[in-house]
Amino acid sequence: MIHEVNIHAEFGNCPCDGSHAYAFRVTNIDPYLSICESLEINFSGVRTTNSSFVNALLVGLFEQHGPILLQKLSFRGCLPTIQVLIQAAVDLGMIKHEERCAKSC
């Protein structure tokens, strides 16, 4: 099963509030990761956003799951600025994942 979440439908053109993104992640992304083959986050129609929003949406996911999540999660319809924000959130999540693994070793 492929699960798709549509950011524009949920947050409009310019989402920027990290607390909203986090709440959305907990209820609309986290639960589907274990039951879906793949998950697509669709940013079509989103004109711009900021680090607060994208980090709250993604960093924790990658911190928790690490690189394996990239096999399952993809992004659609992202303008270049949004791609930079997403890649940075992925990278920050990976850094935190490595830190978490180092601590537990």
């Binding site: 409009g12 053109n13 310019c14 989402p15 920027c16 509030d17 990290g18 607390s19 993104a21 986090y22 697509e40 004109r47 711009t48 900021n50 680090s51 607060s52 980090n55 709250a56 960093v59 924790g60 690189p67 990239l70 999660l73 993809s74 992004f75 659609r76 319809g77 992202c78 303008l79 270049p80 600025t81 791609q83 930079v84 924000l85 997403i86 890649q87 940075a88 992925v90 990278d91 920050l92 990976m94 850094i95």
Partner: protein, 313 residues
């Protein structure tokens, strides 16, 4: 009640800003303050936002703040148009002046309620048409939205809605001046109250400097990574600009092509909240996505080529 008079000098823009912030810090706790506007000729967005934050903080503490000498002030109509007199509750009722269309030149002082709404309005003001991605102002729109929304998010979380924002576009040299100020507890208090051990023994200006380091946050995970202020200041530098943060007992200033300068307010006085003032070149914002990438790279927030996210059209 005995009142103290804060005399505003002729110029509180440019080099007059810091001495004026010192005055606000000196008078912040006085029981009753009369602000004398009679000599004022030039004011910057940063000074204007600071006055609004000063009054808001005092109002919260039930300290009286009056405006005097306004009948002699040469720029009183400008101050009215910029909403200063109304937001400080010095003038109420119907407006007796004509409002100009601000598109592309200025945004009057506004309280920060909805971050998305205000960030959008500012971006649309300085980058008309930029809400369309193919438009030539799209980069400037992205830059303005990003910078304002990141700082305004912080203001909202720390000051509970008592923040103000304003901006001016200098047509002569193409610089955009943005100021956001709030009458909240200040960055140092916020970080100290969060129980962060590294703040022990540091001055307020040292704490502000540390708050600019990536991943330093008082708000904590999971919905905050502490990169907002870091990237905002970095992006402004990459756009040929300068910035100033004044908060509680300290201030940190970075002028274009200069080292960072940090200083305490005189006599242990405290700025009544936080001021973030940014100046950047309009022309440097067109490739905002590249500037954002560079800012993240400089602050070690990007990894190498591994772990690339998959983007589909």
């Amino acid at each position: 009640m005995h009142s103290s008079m804060l005399e505003i000098p002729e110029y509180i823009n440019g080099e007059g800003l810091i001495p004026f912030l010192e005055s606000l810090a000196e008078y912040a706790e006085k029981p009753c303050v009369e602000i004398n506007f009679s000599r004022l000729k030039r004011i910057s967005p940063a000074s204007m936002a600071s006055i609004a934050a000063f009054v808001a903080k005092r109002r919260k503490k039930r300290l009286e703040t009056l405006a005097i000498g306004t009948e002699n002030c040469k720029i009183i109509n400008y101050l009215r148009r910029m909403n200063l007199m109304r937001l400080c509750e010095w003038e109420m009722g119907e407006e007796s002046f004509i409002r100009h269309d601000p598109a592309g030149s200025f945004l009057p002082l506004e309280p920060i309620h909805e971050v998305e709404v205000i960030s959008n309005r500012i971006a649309a003001c300085i980058a008309p048409g930029g809400d369309e991605y193919a438009h030539m102002n799209a980069g400037l729109y992205d830059a303005a939205f990003y910078l304002i929304s990141e700082i305004a998010n912080n203001v909202k979380q720390h000051s509970y809605g008592e923040g103000y924002v304003t901006l001016q576009m200098a047509k002569k040299n193409g610089f955009v001046k943005v100021a956001i100020a709030d009458g909240g507890c200040g960055i140092p208090t916020s970080l100290i109250d969060a129980g962060l051990k590294w703040t022990a023994g540091l001055s307020d200006e040292d704490i502000i400097e540390q708050a600019l380091v990536a991943r330093v946050t008082s708000k904590g995970a999971p919905n905050n990574e502490g990169v907002g202020l870091t990237l905002t200041s970095q992006i402004v530098q990459l756009m040929g600009g300068s910035w100033l943060i004044a908060s509680k007992g300290g201030r940190v200033l970075r002028l274009q092509n200069s080292d960072l300068v940090k200083k305490a307010f005189a006599c242990g006085n405290c700025f009544p909240g936080t001021l973030v003032a940014l100046t950047f070149k309009r022309s440097e914002a067109s490739d905002f996505d590249q500037k954002l990438h560079k800012a993240k790279e400089i602050n070690n927030l990007l990894q190498s080529v591994h772990n690339r996210a998959i983007f589909r059209p």
